[in-house]
């Protein structure tokens, strides 16, 4: 299968500190891939590099929509361009728009797919009204899929924690990505919520036809969801493979156990 995201030799330095050291990574269409590693291994930095928030020091990042023309090089693209090209993300520390309603949060996700400008906003020609109506409806449908319709007109900041996590996913999906990056989606969730999240992720892969790359510490969730797993430690990739293989990989065990001993 053709990769939708392929990263090669990605390197990121902060001053003298090498946060990411020549990492290769590939996500194929329809896959769920997990990126794991001890705290501070550089996982979120990796996300920030490929989504354009940081400019990496070296390496190549290519994004290719399934079934369409050639890949797009992500190096040097601004975050909004990355999203426009079909890769959306969530954040480790939830970054919703707290003083906007739940629906509006999702509507923001539709922004980059539409084009009505200032004159349109002021004069509201029929085309614009249709578009506006469409946004509301699409966004509402998205909330239905994620199961948040109960909160439509609630401020995002007033949502319970688990619902906020799901809203972030809904917002990202509203940008119509073909690859979705989830940064610790299960953080802070209880067992029940995690289970629901597991089902949700599987369901959106089916329904939305997206590939998923996730960072997660909950190993149970990672093992049950992922098709493949990448393990990083100290900015380096130390293993790659199917969940079973990773479980038994000595390098991985050492990385994790080593951390345990330190702690």
């Amino acid at each position: 299968m053709k990769p939708v995201l392929s990263v090669s030799q990605l390197t990121m330095d902060f001053g003298g500190l090498r946060a990411i050291d020549h990492i290769d990574l590939e996500v194929r269409a329809g896959e769920i891939v997990a990126l794991i590693g001890p705290n501070g291994a550089g996982k979120t930095t990796f996300f920030n590099c490929i989504t354009g928030i940081y400019t990496p020091t070296g390496g190549d990042m290519l994004l290719a929509a399934p079934g369409e023309g050639g890949p797009v090089r992500l190096n040097g693209l601004k975050p909004n361009k990355v999203t426009e090209n079909g890769m959306a993300r969530t954040f480790q520390n939830i970054r919703l728009f707290p003083n906007m309603t739940v629906l509006e949060n999702v509507m923001i996700g539709r922004h980059c797919r539409l084009h009505s400008g200032i004159p349109g906003a002021i004069f509201r020609p029929p085309a614009n009204r249709r578009e506006e109506k469409q946004i509301v409806e699409d966004s509402y449908r998205m909330l239905e899929k994620i199961g948040l319709t109960g909160y439509v007109n609630e401020f995002a900041k007033n949502l319970p924690y688990g619902a906020q996590r799901r809203l972030e996913i809904a917002r990202a999906l509203a940008t119509e990505p073909f690859i979705l990056l989830l940064d610790e989606p299960a953080a802070g969730m209880n067992a029940q919520e995690t289970k629901e999240l597991d089902e949700l992720i599987v369901r959106i892969r089916e329904q939305e036809k997206v590939s998923i790359l996730l960072i997660e510490h909950d190993m149970k969730l990672v093992m049950s969801l992922s098709d493949r797993i990448y393990v990083v430690d100290y900015g380096k990739r130390i293993a790659e493979g199917a969940p079973e293989a990773i479980k038994n990989d000595p390098a991985v065990i050492k990385a994790y156990l080593g951390e345990d001993i330190d702690a």
């Binding site: 979120t44 920030n48 928030i53 954040f91 480790q92 520390n93 970054r95």
Partner: protein, 300 residues
């Protein structure tokens, strides 16, 4: 060369004056991220208090050196008290609200204090006697620099050194740094945040008062409005250097002082402020957090 030196010293005077005000600005900003618009007024109140003390003591016929020292001390105490009270009334109840609200409150305070002094004292400019003695050593270079100016340089330098020591080596300094970093966290580890904030206002205000007395001695007059203009300039200086950073405030002030001085000297004072602001914009475009400011990258 003489001309250059003169302009350099003129810029140094201006810079030192800005620094004495900017330090208070930057301290308050560092702790509670508030642009304390009333800080200029604190400086003005310091100058006025100094003037009042000087008048009373002169009437009593005290020795001039004693008078100026006592005047500066009393002015510092009173300005500190004003700073403390203002914080309690106008800023503390607003902690936790959006920052712009506190800014408006500060603006209201600034208006209030201006008019308070205008009504209680006078609208006229009052002469401020210069009681700083002319030092004998300065005599030969008197046409270049006077002892008042030298006192201003020394005061600015001493204040900066003192503050650095305070921040770096004392308990209170550590607490201040902790509050500046993360207020909630500091509270958790047992720092009395209210006390730290009050302390910051007290220190910042008394430095401003010292500045007020020295500048008034230098320039020879005060009225109720001198704080506003000086305050704006000092704020620009603090941002130029990187707001929240003490060495930054001093450096920014000096840079601003020299910029204005050399620009006036070699080009024209018509556009002196324009140039100061253009310079500020240029600096911030290339260093968005000021000369010594830490550029904050978002934690994503």
């Amino acid at each position: 060369m003489d001309y250059f030196l003169e302009l350099f010293l003129g810029g140094l005077t201006r810079g030192s004056i800005y620094a004495l005000i900017a330090l208070g600005y930057t301290m308050v900003y560092g702790i509670i991220e508030l642009i304390n618009f009333a800080h200029g007024e604190i400086y003005m109140i310091g100058a006025f208090t100094g003037l009042i003390v000087i008048s009373v003591l002169t009437l009593l016929g005290w020795n001039t050196v004693a008078i100026i020292i006592i005047a500066a001390l009393v002015a510092m105490v009173y300005s500190a008290a004003y700073g403390y009270t203002i914080e309690k009334i106008a800023y503390k109840p607003l902690r936790g609200s959006q920052r712009l609200s506190a800014l408006i409150s500060a603006i209201g305070m600034s208006l209030f204090l201006q008019n308070y002094v205008l009504l209680a004292q006078t609208s006229n400019f009052l002469p401020f006697p210069n009681l700083i003695p002319e030092f004998g050593i300065v005599k030969p270079i008197e046409h270049i620099v006077r002892s008042t100016e030298i006192v201003i340089y020394i005061a600015a330098a001493l204040v900066m050194v003192g503050l650095t020591v305070l921040i770096k080596f004392t308990r209170m300094g550590k607490a201040m740094r902790a509050v500046a970093q993360d207020r909630d966290m500091a509270m958790l580890v047992g720092v009395d945040v209210n006390r730290v904030i009050s302390f910051t206002f007290v220190i910042g205000s008394s430095i401003a008062a010292l500045g007020g007395v020295l500048v008034a001695s230098h320039i020879g007059q005060v009225n109720y409005y001198v704080g506003f203009i000086a305050g704006i300039k000092a704020f620009v200086a603090a941002v130029l250097g990187g707001i929240g950073s003490m060495p930054g405030a001093v450096l920014g002030s000096l840079v601003l002082g020299w910029t204005e001085s050399f620009f006036t000297g070699y080009i024209s004072s018509d556009y002196e402020d324009v140039f100061a602001f253009v310079f500020l914009v240029l600096i911030l475009i290339f260093r968005p957090a000021g000369i010594l400011g830490r550029s904050q990258t978002d934690k994503v």
